[in-house]
Structures are given as C-alpha cells and as structure tokens.
Symmetry: C2
Subunit: 151 residues, 2 copies
C-alpha cells in the first residue's frame, strides 16, 4: 500500500468526506432521497437549526450534489433537488443503511426495510463484486497506483 496515494487532497474518499461527511449532511441527503425538497420540510423533519441547515444545504449545492431551482416555471420559491451526482450517492447511502440494519438493530426489530418498488421484494445487501461477478472480500481488495504518463 503506497502511503502517498492516501494523501488528503488526492484521496477520493477524503474529498468525498469533505463534501458530505459533516454532521447533518448525510441526513439531509436521506431526506432528499425520500422526496423532500423544501427548506421548511428539511427543517421540520430533521429538527436542525435553520442556520445550520442553510450552511449544509449551501455546501451541498456548491459541491454539485443538490441544485436549487424554482418549484415551478416562473415561480419565486425555490426547492432543493438531487443532481445526477447526488443521485449517484444512492449506493453509498443504501450500503450505509443496510450496515446499520445489520449491526445497530441487533437488540430490536428494525422499523422499516428498503424494497424494490417493481415487485415489493426486499433489496438484498449491496455487495462488492469483481468484473466476473464474484463477491470480493475486504482482504481481496487492494490499491494500485495509476501512472501519470503513457498509460
């Protein structure tokens, strides 16, 4: 494992955490995936201070995860909508939620589950697979430095 590729500014995970890892940001995204778009609804559901919510939403908009747009053509009121970049976080959020289901609800029944709306079946645990389809275990995952020149 080369240490230098883990350097803060060059690590995709560090950059991702910088953008969405602050307290509250993941829960804002959870709400957005659940269909929430308006400031007041985020505020009501999360019981977050308006100042903090404003700060978090601003960062998510500036980072390209949410976009602020009029609620209808020519409307003045604005709402917050997930961009393609934001929607692409679904895998991370579902994996995180499923992990919470497995490990943080051992003492009690979990309150809800994720389902496939096409047929109502439960969404199975997200898995890391190799190109062949084989499920890859943590010990089988490595890092390879990408060379700058040539290929």
């Amino acid at each position: 494992m080369q240490r230098k590729v883990w350097a803060e500014e060059n690590c995709p995970m560090a950059r991702a955490v910088d953008l969405i890892g602050e307290w509250g940001s993941i829960l804002i995204l959870r709400e957005a995936f659940a269909g929430v778009r308006r400031f007041d609804d985020f505020q009501h559901n999360l019981q977050m201070s308006r100042n903090l919510l404003t700060t978090r939403l601003k960062k998510l908009v500036e980072g390209g995860v949410l976009v602020r747009q009029p609620i209808a053509e020519n409307a003045k009121r604005l709402e917050y909508v997930l961009t393609p970049m934001g929607l692409d976080l679904v895998t991370t959020l579902v994996a995180l939620r499923q992990w919470g289901d497995r490990w943080l609800f051992a003492d009690c029944q979990q309150p809800a589950r994720l389902i496939d709306l096409q047929d109502g079946s439960a969404i199975p645990p997200v898995q890391i697979r190799a190109a062949s389809g084989r499920v890859v275990s943590p010990a089988e995952i490595g890092m390879e430095e990408i060379k700058k020149a040539g290929n």
Copy 2:
C-alpha cells in the same frame, strides 16, 4: 413514505452516522482497511491531533467497529483492529470512494484505483441489485414499514 420510520433513534442510517459520521472517523476506518493498526501510525498518516484521535478511536471501539488488542500474546502494547462489524463497512467505504472517483476527480486523473487482488483487475462500481440481479435505480427504491406483531 412514512415519516415516523425516519425518526432519528429508529433510523439505521441516523444510528450509523452517529457512530461513524464524525469528522475523521471515516478516514480512520480507511487507514484501518489499509492495514494500519497502531495509534502512532494513524496519527502520522492522518496528521490528526492525538486528543482527537484518542476520542475517535474510543468511540469506534465502544461502538464495536474496532477492537483494542495486544500486538502479540502477552505483549503490553495495544493495537486497533477491525471487528467483523467494522470489516462489514467495506461496502459503504468502497461505494463512497468510487463515488469520489467518479465525481470529484473530473478535473484530473485519480491517483489510484481499487483492484481485485486475485487477478489485478479493477473493481467495478458497486451496484444496488434486486433479488433477481436487476440493477435498481434510485427511483425504484422504496421503504416498507415492518409490522411489530404477527409477521
């Protein structure tokens, strides 16, 4: 979407964020997955203050994600090792890293990639799949409340 199932204490994602979502925790886990076990190595790699690192490690140990154990039988020095619960975070961390690769390195070449150590091939993007194997899009994912009594 039932609002009440998203309530803080009953939401697996909120509980997960409480445990691993603080500044620095994800990067500690990244280091642990890269094989780091000793306090001084975490400290050196992350350039985190010793006080903050101590606080973060303590919470991860208390939460069951890391375990503190002697570096060898009868040794006094301790190291931090991922538990099965911690290892199970691999899916979330890989999904987060891959998202960072896709969206936060558009302006430059990413420094490294995740590979399958069995054959050196790149790990493809983690995907959410239905029980049938179909890739599920964000719009197809719903929540179903789990009933307490009966089934």
